[in-house]
């Protein structure tokens, strides 16, 4: 065997047993560099996201939209951009916003969203007239089932302990059927699926959703008959933001969290694909070499 062949075999073996921490460094660089450069990527809106955007955009003024924050800080980077975009669109459409959570961790995220979006960008909105924070209630699908029948049975107060009947925008709310659209943001249990099964289908209430990318393939089959539309992961958020900017140019100068995620996403996906291809190429080269050096397999 020549020196060249030995060096080549040594290189292949080294590459095949590459330390996973080196790959981590490449992924970290692929994520960090686009972030530091402030690069963002515009995503063309796909039909499933467009359907959701158009549905909200055709809601008449004063429509009641229930937003359920069914996620936590761990998935907030993916979900929060969707929530922000939907909230901005709903406010532009002059909808009434009812915010609640079937996840305990969603409770604080409702408060955070109210501070960062509603109070800072739309200070003219009045609590109790334009939006309300109903907070978290335990019960998962049992809670949703009960809300279809009697909303105030579970929500006797808002998140701050104010009697529900003393809040003006809660006056005509008897059950979930009084809402024009229900949005569930999440991806775990309970989440969009439970809203479809226990509220949307039995109550004939339109359900829209924004979910983590992991759960998106499991929820796509519900569109279009049981879901108005769906935003899947960071890409779904970026698509919705793109639709929002196109429809409302006033947002074009505003930093969009979903779009800023997409450049890092794209670069890191290229890096991952490169390593997947490299790993497969090295595997086949190694296999062929082993086959050719086996007794009886010499060429």
């Amino acid at each position: 065997m020549s020196n060249g062949q030995t060096t080549s075999r040594y290189t292949i073996e080294r590459l095949q047993s590459i330390d996973r921490r080196i790959i981590f460094v490449f992924i970290a660089a692929a994520v960090i560099i686009p972030l530091l450069l402030g690069a963002s990527l515009k995503e063309e809106t796909t039909p499933i996201v467009r359907a959701l955007f158009d549905y909200v955009d055709h809601l008449p003024e004063g429509s009641r939209v229930l937003l359920s924050f069914d996620y936590g800080p761990t998935t907030a980077p993916e979900i929060q951009p969707m929530v922000d975009a939907v909230l901005r669109q709903c406010i532009e459409r002059k909808c009434k916003l009812y915010m609640m959570a079937v996840w305990a961790t969603g409770h604080n995220l409702v408060g955070q969203t109210i501070e960062e979006i509603l109070k800072s960008e739309y200070p003219q909105l009045q609590y109790g007239q334009d939006y309300v924070n109903l907070g978290y209630k335990a019960g998962s699908q049992g809670l949703i089932r009960l809300l279809v029948v009697d909303f105030k049975r579970m929500y006797s107060t808002d998140a701050a302990g104010t009697a529900i009947d003393s809040i003006p925008m809660m006056q005509n709310i008897g059950n979930l059927k009084n809402f024009d659209l229900i949005f569930s943001f999440g991806g775990g249990f309970p989440g969009i699926k439970e809203w479809i099964l226990y509220a949307g289908d039995p109550g004939h209430i339109p359900i829209g959703g924004g979910c983590t990318a992991v759960s998106a393939p499991l929820l796509y089959p519900y569109y279009p008959s049981q879901l108005v539309g769906l935003m899947g992961g960071a890409k779904g958020a970026a698509e919705y933001e793109n639709a929002l900017i196109q429809a409302y140019p006033k947002f074009s100068n505003m930093p969009m969290a979903g779009m800023s995620l997409m450049m890092s996403q794209t670069v890191s996906h290229i890096v991952i694909m490169f390593f997947v291809v490299l790993g497969n190429v090295l595997y086949f080269i190694g296999r062929n070499r082993n086959a050719s050096t086996k007794p009886g397999g010499e060429k």
């Binding site: 409770h107 699908q141 302990g161 899947g232």
Partner: protein, 247 residues
């Protein structure tokens, strides 16, 4: 002093300096958040006590958070506040004048039964409450899953293979509907084991495998996207909220 110890001291000194500066400039909470993030990331290098500390802290805080939210968000207003409203008057004044609901004794009783699980002698009684929960959940799920996940999904698959609208023949929708039909049928054939997978049936089963592989691939791709999103979120926190390096 060995080189390894000296390096350790230098790293510790740099970390302490960065932390002190961070506390002064960004505040304590952001600094603690950043440090805990770095502790968790340190697992990527190798398992270590800092990672273990952050992991245990997360588990403990999460458990306590869910318990407190359940108690103050649900038990206080929806159980105690309905059973005897004056009891929660000091916490939620809006409820103190509501009429009491004596039937709320039943969920309270079932809740106490569940807690008997902590007793070695009376633990078996908790099964009654558990049986109620399992029975109710099974009943609720059976009906809803049958209607929404089974019948409604079959109905959604009954789509025309020749799609046409007001503008005439729609090629895109026809292809899309055909892919859905073939995907569902071949997937079902693959999981049908009462007939040997040979001939036309075998071709259908092999197509089913391809459809399943494509589905798994799409799911894996989405999973990668989800994990990268979480990484980007943490990096945004470190480089923007903490270090202020992102424009």
């Amino acid at each position: 002093m060995t080189t390894k110890r000296l390096t350790g001291h230098i790293v510790l000194g740099v970390v302490l300096l960065v932390c002190t500066l961070s506390i002064v400039v960004k505040g304590l909470l952001v600094t603690v958040g950043a440090l805990l993030t770095l502790f968790i990331f340190s697992f990527l290098y190798k398992d270590n006590p800092y990672y273990k500390f952050a992991e245990h802290l997360f588990v403990g805080v999460s458990a306590a958070y869910w318990m407190c939210m359940g108690f103050w968000g649900t038990m206080v207003p929806n159980l105690f506040g309905k059973l005897y409203p004056p009891m929660v008057g000091s916490v939620i004044p809006a409820l103190k004048d509501n009429p009491p609901e004596p039937f709320m004794v039943i969920p309270l009783f079932l809740g106490v039964l569940l807690l008997l699980r902590l007793s070695s002698k009376a633990g078996w009684i908790s099964r009654w409450a558990l049986a109620f929960i399992v029975g109710t959940t099974a009943g609720l799920n059976l009906v809803r899953y049958l209607r929404s996940d089974f019948i409604a999904q079959i109905s959604s698959t009954m789509i025309p293979l020749y799609a046409s609208g007001a503008a005439g023949f729609n090629l895109g929708e026809t292809i899309s509907n055909s892919v859905i039909f073939l995907g569902v049928m071949s997937g079902l054939i693959y999981f049908f084991f009462s007939k040997e997978h040979k001939g036309v049936f075998g071709t259908g089963a092999r197509t089913g495998i391809i459809v399943l592989m494509v589905t798994f691939g799409a799911s894996f791709g989405y999973t990668v996207m989800a994990r990268i999103s979480l990484l980007v979120g943490r990096m945004q926190f470190l480089f923007d909220d903490w270090l202020g390096l992102i424009r």
